[in-house]
């Protein structure tokens, strides 16, 4: 879930961690009522500041993705199906934006990107 956290990215690590967990919840990789790792576990596993994990969990709680039960842990909340779909759609948009920004930087045209996607998928998009 956290395999390519990028400490060198300007996106703060807490935001990257929160985003991965949001995505895992949206795709069902994390099920409702499932417990997230403890702050200590995740901080040492990812070699990040424990405060970074706390901040990620607080963000997720503020957005109603998880519930922090003091002394017990942090648990995934049930999401409305519409919300899960919206979350996946917003992740897809973020991926495309990243791709387009990179293409622009490299001087690759939109048509070329489109063509490459169609070739990779093996089908023509309408």
């Amino acid at each position: 879930m956290f395999h390519n956290l990028d400490a060198r990215s300007p996106i703060p690590l807490y935001a990257q961690i929160a985003e991965r967990i949001r995505l895992a919840i949206a795709t069902g990789a994390l099920a409702p009522a499932e417990a997230l790792p403890s702050v200590r576990q995740l901080a040492t596993e990812l070699r990040v500041n424990p405060a970074t994990v706390v901040q990620a969990y607080r963000d997720l709680e503020a957005q109603n993705f998880v519930e922090i039960r003091h002394g017990a842990g942090t648990f995934v909340r049930e999401l409305a199906p519409g919300r899960r779909a919206r979350e996946r759609a917003s992740q897809a948009t973020a991926l495309v934006r990243k791709l387009l920004a990179e293409a622009r930087r490299m001087g690759v045209s939109l048509v070329e990107v489109q063509k490459a996607i169609e070739e990779e998928v093996g089908a023509k998009t309408p």
């Binding site: 060198r8 990215s9 300007p10 703060p12 901080a43 040492t44 070699r47 424990p50 405060a51």
Partner: protein, 299 residues
Amino acid sequence: MSHAIEISGLKYRAGSFELKDVDLHVPTGSIYGFLGPNGSGKTTTMRLVLGLLRPLGGRISVLGDRMPEDAPRILARVGYVPEQPHLDATLTVRELMTFQAAFYPTWDRAFAEDLVKRFELDDHRVFGRLSKGQKAKLMILLALAQRGDLLVLDEPTDGLDPVVRRDILTALLEYVAERKATIFISSHLVHELERFCDWVAVMDDGRLVTEVPMEKLKLGTKRLVVSGAPATPGATPFVILSRDPAPPNGASERWIVGQWEPAMSSYFQGVGASLVDVIDLDLEDGFVELLRSFRTSRG
């Protein structure tokens, strides 16, 4: 915000080296990275914080007490790992632990035993015959097991292999997660600090270049690609750290700026230039650019 370490106007001199009016504010509970080239004054500052050197001027407070006046009370609550091991080479790991424990009423025996096992230290071996990695682990063990509220770590992972480095960092992060302790850590390994520091300070030639929350440094330092840039930029909403002159082929200029925010791109329309690209810099790039502009501004 309370500070575990607060330094103002710190002055010190030894031979040709001079520490000039250093101010530092290490927030309680933070992991505070202390960066700077060799000889910039990191070790000297740390030794002053611990009362191992006497300042020529300025004020140092540590965990709410004054250094050097309250040194014994402060040192009882501070774990220190010096740059060079200072332990008796003829004592065994076990003897060194017993020795250290005698100085600290807060010494946690069970925790020390746990660390001996986790670090795979042979407690009958004398210090002088330990490998470099084992020495470093033992120093960390001694600093952690006294259960202090502040850890002062001078290049604790310098020159160690990645496995030992990871073991040490894991132990440190676990300690912070449990104890909410403050860590004041210097390192050459900029990327290592990038992952877990809340704050960074940069030193150069005995002076403080900057002290800033990590996120602010990383989010605010950018490389801008500018075309049609004016010869004199006038008043800019951001700080220009450096500016590479336009190449003769009419290509764009590259500016390194600090305190950047996206809304500031409107500045370029105002001066008849256009902003072609904004490129993120990582901590190492930011660090190098900060030093470069600091040195230029001082002539």
